[in-house]
Assembly symmetry: C2
Homo-oligomer: 541 residues x 2
Amino acid sequence: MGWMADETGLERNAANFVPLTPLSFLARAADVFAGHTALVYGTTRRSYAEYHDRVSRLASALARRGIAPGDVVATLLPNVPAQAEAHFGVPAAGAVLNTINTRLDADTVGYIFGHGQAKLALVDTAFLPLAEEAVALMEGPAPEIIEVPDPHAGHPASGRYTEYEALLATGDASAPWKIPEDEWESLALNYTSGTTGRPKGVVYHHRGAYLLSMGTAVSWKVGIHPVYLTIVPLFHCNGWCHTWMMPTVGGTVVCCRDITAKNIYDAIADEGVTHFGGAPIVLNSIINAKDGDRRNFDHVVEVYTAGAPPPAATLAAIEPLGFRVTQVYGLTETYGHVTECIWRDDWDALPQEERAAIKARTGVLMPMMEDITVHDEKGHPVPRDGQTVGEIAIRGNAVMKGYYRNPKATAEAFKGGFFRSGDIAFQHEDGYIKITDRAKDIIISGGENVSSVEVEGALMHHPAVSLCAVVAKPDDKWGEVPCAFVELKEGREATEADLIAFVRTRLAGFKTPKKIVFCDLPKTSTGKVQKFELRARAKDL
Amino acid sequence: MGWMADETGLERNAANFVPLTPLSFLARAADVFAGHTALVYGTTRRSYAEYHDRVSRLASALARRGIAPGDVVATLLPNVPAQAEAHFGVPAAGAVLNTINTRLDADTVGYIFGHGQAKLALVDTAFLPLAEEAVALMEGPAPEIIEVPDPHAGHPASGRYTEYEALLATGDASAPWKIPEDEWESLALNYTSGTTGRPKGVVYHHRGAYLLSMGTAVSWKVGIHPVYLTIVPLFHCNGWCHTWMMPTVGGTVVCCRDITAKNIYDAIADEGVTHFGGAPIVLNSIINAKDGDRRNFDHVVEVYTAGAPPPAATLAAIEPLGFRVTQVYGLTETYGHVTECIWRDDWDALPQEERAAIKARTGVLMPMMEDITVHDEKGHPVPRDGQTVGEIAIRGNAVMKGYYRNPKATAEAFKGGFFRSGDIAFQHEDGYIKITDRAKDIIISGGENVSSVEVEGALMHHPAVSLCAVVAKPDDKWGEVPCAFVELKEGREATEADLIAFVRTRLAGFKTPKKIVFCDLPKTSTGKVQKFELRARAKDL
């Protein structure tokens, strides 16, 4: 390997080797961008110098409260400033940040408290009942609760716990941070949504969060001083690491507690938001906003969307409103997005429908990743023919350390030297990946694979359909048949027969839903439709 | 430190840990940007797929010719495509790239051949006499010479050596690259200019080049598909690592063999160049270009300038021409630039003179660096008062491994846990660093420190002065006095008395030159004035 004939004196030293950690980004920004606005929430505005001060207070206060390096600190918080501060303050104490999904049930939160062995939890006043019920249900020692009230949002302090600001008051703004000695040290613990069985705890290291942040800043046209709106919950892959990334470019993080079309438009118009990430469902809410909720703005907002490919109809409607949408793809196991549908200039001239089809692709490798390829069952890349499907296999520095206290699942996930995503895709001739389905979302009807995503895409073209999800319904004759759950747009109508006939004009008979159910779709906190629930309902139909 | 209670199964594996190397950037670009133009030289245009093919051929051809991992491969090349290809092809063979300054004398080149123990050298036909003389003068085994002819530039093959294209023809475009197993493996060997004594061989590792590239892509507003003109020679800090960086954003590298104002204007107008780096002297040549050499263009060209602070007069003249100039600072020991004079929007409203003064600052930490501070003699940061000077001390991942086969100089350079730059500066209250002098460039006159840079800045305001350099002249009474060497603009006149009187209106008497010499200034290949030569001449005056 590349060692020279004589490497005497060329070893690592304090000057030329520093473990990679996102903590460095904020330390630099506190100096380089000291007076620039780092955080906005309602009327609260904090500069990078203030952000750094509060993070230092939090870290030293946690240490004084007995939090040791390697301990887990949990949060049950919406996208409020305390959640952003925890992203730096908890690791600055050497501890591991466990942001918990606030929409989980108490039993699951209790399981996570117990499995992660959190010593302390920052809990929004609104989620105290959830935390308390979780503690009652959990096994093992309970975390100490620190309450984060939000009186302006209607959640004044309960008076039952130490408050977040009181905790910060015990800290020292000039206390040095605990910087990792090894960039492989653990930074965060993120539990998967766990559609079957108990959720798994994905462990991130400092190196991966640093590199994903750098790669995102390179790819996402952030320039300098972007204004970022927190739509993706910070408890979801740590908000795709965007909170860690923003200090590299002196960005402003605008916190958004309740994700509504009105709040999004207001943040764009009032705070000059330039960037956000969100599921396609967020795009739909922007498109379908009431007139009174819309605001005018004169810049282009860059949007990373993920979770499901944006339907062509959604793209066609949102781009004229001033949003440039790029699909990205990743999983909790990859710190957020690791592919991006990079746009090529020569696609500009294509008809809108073809452009939308390209935008619906999952994309190509982001700059910090090494290899993302579709593999067949033997672990060989499938031909790039735009049709042969396989599993997306991922290799690179933004891949998790593994699952916490679950070496068996870890070994399974890494079999063959790649992280096996469980997502089914093909590759176009030009290398662009296109997800067809989560492995478990494929419907097998009469021996033919039916892509639920493809059927959903066809339904979304119907002018009355606002949202839909297609799952397998057990069928005596065909094994499974597609079954669609549909939300209609306000004031629009369509019958089951209408929609079936509509899809049939676009898709083969075996791909056409045999059953349409009109209802509100169950969704996760990130706007993903909970198909496991629909699958259960389809079974009972 | 941040290790969790149970880290079983959370170790590095093939899926989640890949050593950082700039080789990854080209491997990705060859797929993601396969058809995009990677390299342009005259009528030659190569796509990323072709670039990758040729790099693979070079790497495998080198291996077949006996180049083993860790061996040194030298180049004596101008900024032609072979030089860019060597930046990937040599490390892809596991070897270490030693780009040698083509303007050095044969004795020094021979010393570098011998000290670096190069096994093979890629030599431009124009520099064969230099290489041959160097081989005749050197000690130890000579490198095998591979000739890189450039017939279009008037340098057809001599017929005496294996030609570069013939070497590539023995390679295999599908041969796998030797990717480092450890990101600390050596990537490049760059000899300092060595103003006194023999030059020192600065060793770069793969990690540092990867991170400097990422940090540059984040900071330099490169967006996607920038068009980069190679003005900085690739033998100078590997062209500030820009050739390694460009594939991360699908950039096009436009090779420029001869740096003239005409060639620069043509590249901007014909190839759409958006970015380049160069010394202030390059900016002056653009400003002072003959009318027939100028071209119109309608975009803004982003320019990183380094080597000396851009004089206010230069900035005032070049910005209206369509160039946005940002000063950066670094050394061979730091892979190129590690600080950048990041512009703040609220400075836009300042008068031109104040804006120029700010642009002449050395700047602040780039995103991939950890700490760059001005230290006093005890290694403590000096107060940020805009006047107390000290030495710039640097810590971060883009700091060299050390000096090759010189552990003593390495230990000296890293004393105190920082790389000690030898550059003298103060820090403004806002943290921006301002270099006043190289340690050896300070003139001590009557016990007062005189900054040669300050005196040069004053002289540059005179309308007849094109370029100048100020050094110490020994003086019986004052110890040293400032002595200025001046190039006048074509067609302009000024006497020694004129210039002395002019400077006296701007500076204190002890800072005013006592002697002015009109002559052509001796320059290095990167446009830096060779002050050591002027110092010798000042001594003899």
